[in-house]
Symmetry: C2
Subunit: 388 residues, 2 copies
């Protein structure tokens, strides 16, 4: 028998309660029954985004919401500052070019966070830039960019701050209104524990103001049309009904746990994973590790791809390796979503066993003990943990 | 106790087998396990589209695929013939304008099919038109447009024929290669019996040729990028994993039933529904009724919206009324998807009861007897009906 365990940064495991909800008979979307569900989701998403603004739902995966965050606010020929510190930062640049927006790319070495001063300097050099695009958590490196500081930089500049929080929302604090973020996008298959296919987007007053003069073509991702419909608990196009039902249930689970308790849990798991890896003599890859995932350099002489494959084949434990520049060098442990302390023991234990199997020098149990201690020290789970 | 029964043209009921499959633990999309599923879906979709071309999957609802069918093949300033015979035909025109394509709109009275001669004339008058946009089944009216004849018209013209088969694919015959259709789009929540959120698109050689010079901006819906990825059983962006799993199961159910048997079943149900309604003295709304749905004029003095609401409130039977021009005038019975003869008895019986409740003159049982006779005459289900 081999139990399959997914510890990847998206998709993340779907809680049984969500699966059961989504397996209920489908409801027609043009009906008062669905509108009630949709209304609860709207309210729950605003709570999760910590905003008074509308959070718009889109039937698409995260990249669709990234596209929406560009085409609804910019004009052809506009300049935009793009923070490129990994695979997803790079995507902002490609996206901008596809629509005739000129990216000013701030290349940041993989594994590092952007310096807010560099963004401020770029905006000074490009006073006509209309947006700064960044990731809250760059999934290819496990880096958390300093969103709060970046928001302070854009606050007194005409540019809007656009944050890809696809793998960050719900894992750590990103208070949209309090920090002054202008556009934030996320997706269903990360902290929310749903299958992919649903994306979310909130926009500030400053961003909606830009929307009035934005001239990039759009139809499926037209946010103004969606906002007008969604305020009536309807959608312009057919919504991903089963995922919306699951979202309703997922948001309910978040409410039961509490937002701060949820962030504290992610932080505790991150500490456990980091402590476990470091106790095995491994080096963290991210210089600004996020609470959503832990990225680790494989030991000298061990191909991380080989480790990842071995763990799945031998033990059914699914991690992911590195992408592009980090391929073969790193492996990534996700702890965003439906995970608790004991899942971290599983993953640390698996890494110990896997490395040992591949001939690396590790002391079995050292990682486990360190992870256990770090999580216990971070305090017991607070409040009712009803996410089961 | 009130049993809820969905008889709407999308979403359609999800077979239990598909729900169970989609409730299985989620699989990572960048894995050999998922690639196997994806490969089977690719093969099954080509079989269902009756084409040797790639059928591309998109994480979006149908309108997303409609957008893809425009932005990947046309140039800014191009002319395109738009068949506007209802709400979905109208959408083609709006979509075209959003991207700077000039629609030449052929307005067709609601309830009627387009005359292929009118399309030929429009192409003669607009020799630079690069596309003809049409619905296979116009869901707002229940009209089947003459796709085969339209394909003969576009065959010797530079324009491509773009067919919205969202509510038609799998319900009646639309052999993509044999008829010479150029682009055809569909969605998951219709005959395939899945929740919405997955869309499909096939393109002919002629269309791919146009793709080489197409200059409309696109990123999320870039079909060339998707095709290159999907040939390797991957997707450019995160796919709607659970729906793809469900698709694999749905296509398997189609194979077990057989394509011709499936079309025959839809035709038989359509005959039953039409005979039932006519035996109640009701007039069909569609002058070219499709096998996907039956649209019916409510009797004089009866508001169809009122009937639809009453049927759901009193009996849990969900039909839909008319949209825009047909609002209050018609109701629509869907029989595309997971339906059999006995579902038609249920819906005809419900309409009889509902009309009687609202004071219309109907002879209880007359519709049922006629539906029963028409379906029996159309022949018993052929082949193994394993869609359970």
């Amino acid at each position: 028998m081999k139990k399959i365990r997914l510890l990847t940064p998206g998709p993340t495991p779907v809680p049984e309660r969500l699966s059961l909800r989504m397996a209920q008979p489908i409801v027609h979307h043009r009906s008062p029954e669905f509108e009630q569900v949709f209304a609860r989701c709207r309210e729950g998403l605003s709570w999760l985004f910590q905003t008074k603004q509308d959070v718009i739902q889109l039937a698409a995966s995260g990249t669709g919401a990234m596209e929406a965050s560009l085409v609804n606010f910019l004009r052809r020929g506009d300049e935009a500052i793009v923070v490129d510190a990994g695979k997803f930062g790079e995507r902002w640049g490609k996206l901008a070019k596809s629509y005739g927006v000129n990216p000013v790319t701030l290349k940041v070495e993989w594994g590092n966070a952007v310096d807010p001063g560099a963004v401020a300097a770029a905006l000074k050099e490009h006073p006509n830039a209309r947006a700064v695009f960044v990731q809250a958590n760059e999934s290819s490196t496990g880096v958390a960019h300093p969103v709060e500081k970046l928001a302070r930089v854009t606050k007194n500049h005409p540019a809007i701050l656009v944050v890809d929080a696809i793998s960050a929302l719900g894992a750590f604090d990103l208070p949209f209104d309090a920090w002054g973020i202008d556009v934030m996008v996320s997706g269903s298959q990360k902290a929310l524990g749903l299958p992919p296919g649903l994306a979310f987007l909130a926009a500030s007053e400053k961003a909606w103001k830009l929307n009035e003069t934005a001239d990039l073509p759009r139809f499926y991702f037209d946010l103004k049309r969606e906002r007008d419909n969604q305020r009536k608990n309807q959608t312009a196009w057919t919504p991903a009904i089963s995922l919306v039902e699951g979202l309703d249930e997922s948001l309910q689970m978040f409410r039961e746990e509490g937002l701060q308790a949820c962030f504290a849990r992610h932080e505790r798991l991150a500490r456990g994973a980091r402590a476990g890896m470091q106790a095995l003599g491994l080096e963290l890859y991210s210089k600004a590790p996020s609470a959503a995932m832990t990225t680790v350099l494989a030991p000298q002489g061990t191909d991380s791809e080989k480790l990842v494959k071995h763990l799945f084949k031998q033990y059914g434990i699914k991690l992911v390796g590195g992408q592009e520049a980090a391929k073969g060098k790193i492996f990534r442990i996700a702890h965003l979503g439906y995970f608790d302390d004991f899942d971290m023991l599983v993953v640390v234990g698996a890494v110990e066993r896997g490395l040992k199997d591949l001939g690396a020098k590790v002391q079995l149990g050292a990682g486990l003990a360190a992870a256990q201690a770090a999580m216990a020290e971070a305090g017991a789970p607070t409040g009712p943990q009803l996410r089961g």
